[in-house]
């Protein structure tokens, strides 16, 4: 499995969705629920941290468009 830090936000959100879905699935058991909950909580915090740190990379194209020949 890919390490959490290497995953994109979208992948982490998908992982969180899967974890949350487990709580509503037939596989749910109280014995493992606490571990799963802690895992989901850590993932949610990681997503929030990633979101807060994201910046866009803006690059002005060097090419000039005022003449067809350039």
């Amino acid at each position: 499995m890919t390490q959490s830090k290497d995953k994109t936000i979208q992948q982490k959100i998908s992982d969180l969705d899967a974890l949350v879905a487990w709580f509503d699935s037939d596989e749910f058991s109280l014995e493992t629920a606490l571990d799963k909950f802690k895992e989901a909580e850590a993932l949610a915090l990681a997503i929030e941290k990633d979101l807060a740190g994201l910046k866009n990379d803006i690059e002005i194209v060097k090419k000039k468009f005022d003449s067809a020949s350039e």
Binding site: I9, F23, F28, K55, E59, F65
Partner: protein, 363 residues
């Protein structure tokens, strides 16, 4: 003063040189008359007002907006004396003038492109939900561009934004935007969306976005297009042909990326939604255990009652068998030698009496 003698051709050439020097490019406003297209290549019309009329010539390629007789236009042209001595304007560009003409031109082209299916819903492509690479075509000095970049950054991050700096107003703007579209469409790493944005303006300012060649360039883009031009009330043909149209540049940014604040809220909601589920399961388990305990208690109580009942029944039987109970009712127990003269012992409830047998009659 010495008179200068020209040949006809030289005079025409000198006149044209003089005209070119005096009026290298003029803008003339007037009404279109006698509009016609020859061989699908050459456009002829007159531009006139109440005081005069001048013949105009241009190529179909240069005619970027539909015009018709009676329409008020502004032509950008070079005045010229032809070899047949006729004065005319060689038109470089023509654009409708005034709200009525702009609207008329807009409606003609809209109907034509609509008939070709360029605005059809089936042609619309969906934008990727979270793009990583987008292209923006705009003027970096425009307020609309600044709004777009700010809102894009506020809402999301991690997006590579390539910006093509173009004019978004004036006759050159159309070709610059077309070239920028071609540039992005021929990149090795294609952006996932190409966004064309410009803030609001007058109908004349936004007229470039109704240019037929620009509209066709947007329609043929390999990259899904998003056009956010003008204010909410403005509608251009570029908006209509784009895969997605945004009312303003700010709305364009909102259409492209999710809002990180909403994602955070959603993530927190997901975590919170798990807790009731756990509590519900715990409550259910607790109820099951309580129910089972209650059942066990009731069974124990039942078994106890059953046992106690049996015990009391046996006890009653035992009581019936107890000689003491019989004695209590007034009977006596007799033990000893029953023969006449023999000694016997009589036991009553209250005493034990010794006696001798005086008579014995068998029954």
């Amino acid at each position: 003063m010495e008179k200068i003698r020209f040949s006809v051709s030289d005079f025409i050439a000198v006149t044209n040189q003089t005209l070119e020097y005096a009026y290298p490019s003029v803008e003339i406003e007037g009404e279109v008359a006698s509009f016609k297209v020859n061989q699908d290549k050459f456009v002829f019309f007159d531009i006139k007002d109440s005081g005069g009329s001048i013949g105009c010539f241009m190529t179909v390629w240069q005619l970027r907006v539909p015009i018709e007789d009676g329409m008020k236009v502004i032509v950008t042209a070079v005045p010229k004396l032809t070899q047949w001595g006729k004065f005319s304007l060689t038109v470089k560009s023509v654009r409708p003038s005034g709200e009525g003409a702009l609207k008329k031109s807009f409606e003609i082209l809209k109907a034509k492109l609509d008939a070709e299916g360029l605005f059809a819903f089936e042609r619309k492509r969906t934008l990727p939900p979270v793009p990583k690479h987008i292209a923006v075509i705009s003027s970096v000095h425009a307020a609309g561009y600044a709004d777009f970049i700010k809102i894009l950054g506020d809402r999301w991050g991690g997006v590579k934004v390539e910006v093509a700096q173009v004019q978004v107003q004036g006759t050159d703007s159309r070709d610059q935007i077309i070239r920028a579209l071609e540039y992005f469409n021929t990149r090795d790493a294609l952006p996932e969306i190409v966004v064309i944005i410009r803030g609001g303006g007058s109908a004349d300012d936004l007229a470039g976005f109704n240019d037929e060649r620009l509209v066709r360039a947007i329609a043929s883009s390999r990259i899904p297009t998003l056009v956010g031009v003008g204010h909410e009330t403005d509608e251009s043909l570029s908006d209509l042909v784009a895969d997605v149209s945004a009312a303003t540049p700010s709305n364009a940014a909102q259409s492209i990326v999710p809002d990180r604040a909403e994602v955070v809220r959603s993530v927190r909601y997901k975590i919170q939604s798990v807790l009731p589920r756990i509590l519900q399961v715990i409550e259910t388990q607790k109820a099951i255990i309580e129910e089972r305990l209650q059942y066990a208690f009731l069974r124990t109580e039942f078994q106890y009652d059953q046992t106690a009942e049996r015990f009391y029944r046996l006890r009653r039987v035992l009581d019936q068998l107890d000689p003491g109970v019989v004695l209590k009712r007034g009977y006596a127990l007799l033990r000893g030698d029953e023969r006449v003269g023999g000694e016997i012992e009589i036991e009553t409830y209250k005493a034990i009496i010794k006696a001798k047998v005086q008579k014995y009659d068998a029954k």
